[in-house]
């Protein structure tokens, strides 16, 4: 019973859940410091050195504040909504690899895969499926609060999340075709053995993925679910204390998930030329394993910083603009990318990476030129919607 088969996943779960929760706490601090940096302020620096104890103070506040349940709220659903969103955000990490293999030291049986569920053949689909369940927390939280602002926020954001799932899935298919698998370990191996990161071969797919990822994580410029100026705080207006904290944690977890997916699928995962090249699973040394974990996490952190950067660089979209970007621009672009990568995959040799890169960048340039010539910068996609009003 207490063999490695049992202990190993338990330890992995504990490490991943603990690390993610800690990371979320410190990302809040990082976001506040980054926001301050972009706005030429100082940011929170009073609690501990450089404000490093601020997350602990925040956590205490979350726990100790009064829990309010609005009158007329549907109580069981009101309490269940934050649990649903946090559970789905946490469960998504079950098939996300956090590094390459760990060597079989200290009498362990085989090289340990750095994933909670390493054998999952559908790893990527699992992440998409489970994180798509987070929309329940949003829509039910908004509905159960018995507040018009919450309800409108919930409706808006669930429409947004459901709409942007389509381009998110479409954009990934090109990269899946290149790697020939949905297993995230195999996708990273394919990039490491070829020496090409899929972002070089799938620029259009990556662009669609990143923009849809911003929308799925409900980050600015797509933070319509919250939209402080219009809806108080959107679907979690009525939530207080730790229940609000759970919504906030789930939001940050979504951002981390998108960053992990982007790094694993488009930026080679743990691979870095000359520093961390491809090796067989049983040839990894301890230093190599730690190095690869570090490289992957470093890339994720860079991407998370990019998310924070974008937040203070772009204005928010109007709701009809958001919908038309999703349905009229992102989905067609995703389809174009799928068609182009399917054709180049079929007619070019498996290792003709340079030719594939040329094709995909040419497609990106063609889409860009077409967009420049045909889309009116005054907001042509939304003209139809405006004419109706």
């Amino acid at each position: 019973m207490f063999s490695q088969d049992w202990i190993e996943p338990l330890i992995k779960m504990a490490v991943v859940i603990g690390a993610i929760q800690g990371a979320v706490a410190y990302l809040v601090l990082a976001e506040r410091r980054a926001a301050a940096f972009f706005q030429d302020r100082v940011g929170p620096n009073r609690v501990g050195p450089f404000g490093l104890l601020q997350p602990i103070a925040d956590g205490l506040k979350f726990i100790l504040k009064e829990e309010l349940i609005p009158s007329g709220a549907h109580k069981p659903i009101f309490l269940l909504a934050p649990v649903m969103i946090l559970a789905s955000a946490t469960l998504a990490f079950a098939t996300v690899p956090v590094g390459y293999y760990f060597p079989a030291i200290l009498g362990l049986k085989a090289p340990i895969a750095m994933t909670i569920a390493p054998g999952m053949d559908i790893g990527l689909l699992f992440v998409l499926a489970v994180s798509s369940l987070g929309v329940y927390g949003v829509i039910l939280g908004g509905w159960a609060s018995n507040s018009k602002y919450s309800f409108l926020g919930g409706l808006r954001s669930s429409a947004q999340l459901v709409s942007y799932e389509l381009p998110l899935g479409l954009s990934l298919i090109g990269a899946i075709l290149l790697s020939g698998s949905l297993r995230m370990e195999t996708i990273m191996d394919a990039q490491a053995t070829s020496g090409w990161w899929w972002v070089m071969l799938q620029p259009l797919g990556f662009a669609v993925f990143l923009i849809s990822g911003f929308a799925e994580a409900a980050r600015l410029p797509f933070d319509l679910p919250e939209c402080e100026q219009e809806l108080v705080a959107g679907y979690h207006t009525e939530y207080t204390a730790m229940k609000f904290g759970m919504f906030a944690m789930a939001e940050y977890m979504h951002m981390i998930t998108v960053a992990f997916l982007a790094v694993i699928i488009y930026f080679g995962g743990w691979h870095l030329w000359y520093v961390a090249p491809y090796v067989e699973a049983d040839q990894v040394t301890l230093i190599g394993a730690l190095l690869r974990i570090g490289i992957l996490q470093g890339k994720v952190l860079v991407l998370v910083f990019f998310f924070m950067w974008v937040r203070w660089s772009f204005p928010r979209f109007r709701y009809d603009q958001l919908m038309s970007i999703g349905w009229k621009i992102m989905i067609p672009l995703g389809l174009v990318n799928l068609l182009a990568s399917a054709i180049s995959q079929e007619f070019l040799a498996q290792d003709a990476y340079l030719a594939k890169a040329v094709v995909s960048w040419a497609v990106l340039a063609a889409c860009f030129v077409y967009g420049m010539l045909n889309v009116n910068p005054q907001g042509a996609p939304s003209q139809h919607a405006l004419a109706k009003v």
Partner: protein, 261 residues
Amino acid sequence: MGEFELTLSSLIVVVLGGLGVYLLLPRGTNSSDRAARIVGSLLATISLVLIASNFGDVLPNKTNELTFYLLAAVSIISAVLMIASHNPVISALWFALVLLSNSGLYLLQGAEFLSAATIIIYAGAIIVTFLFVIMLAQPNGAAPYDLHSREPLLSCTAGVILAWTLLGTLHYACTEESKPLSQRHAGASMAALPSPALVAKSLEAQPESIIRADKGHVDNLGRTLFLEHYVAVEVVGMLLLVAVVGAVLIVNRDPAKLTAA
């Protein structure tokens, strides 16, 4: 596998469950509702336990079997609660739970792709759309048709007959040794790959089989779909395309608007 035969005693067990469900269905009155609900849930639980006790070893591994019974129980109980609930929003949530536990059962049987697709399509998109419609359609609380189930007696009778014959057929199907389809993935209860011995066996049975042992689950599924059932896949795709075109036409009744857009 199944020990459930089409006898009178098994019929009584199923009828017990059907009676429980009948008592659980919403009837619009609140006075005697509570007692009926308690009796109904008791009867349904007894019937469920009796049926479950008739099934022997479902899966080779004890942990797998425990998981199977857990998921199956959650699935059946939430299915009953879905039709027993007064509030349509709550019903939709129970429905989502049915789908989630079903996708867990698929995963347990090695059908990984099916389970992920169930979650993405049904739980992630369709039920959310249901919730949308329900929430927007009823701002003023439950409608009369939510508090009454239509034809509870007839539907419960039909359900009992269906459940009884299904369980019995399951028994006969499992005792017969003619199951070429399930043999393909029979060994893959938890592992991603079917065991090489089984694949070799099925290769022997079908010389030109397209299932390959060295490929993963999704790879083999794709081969089956796009090599063996290619025409069916294309027909279904065309059907969906026609449905989408029809939906667009219904929404935009004015043809001038269509060409303008």
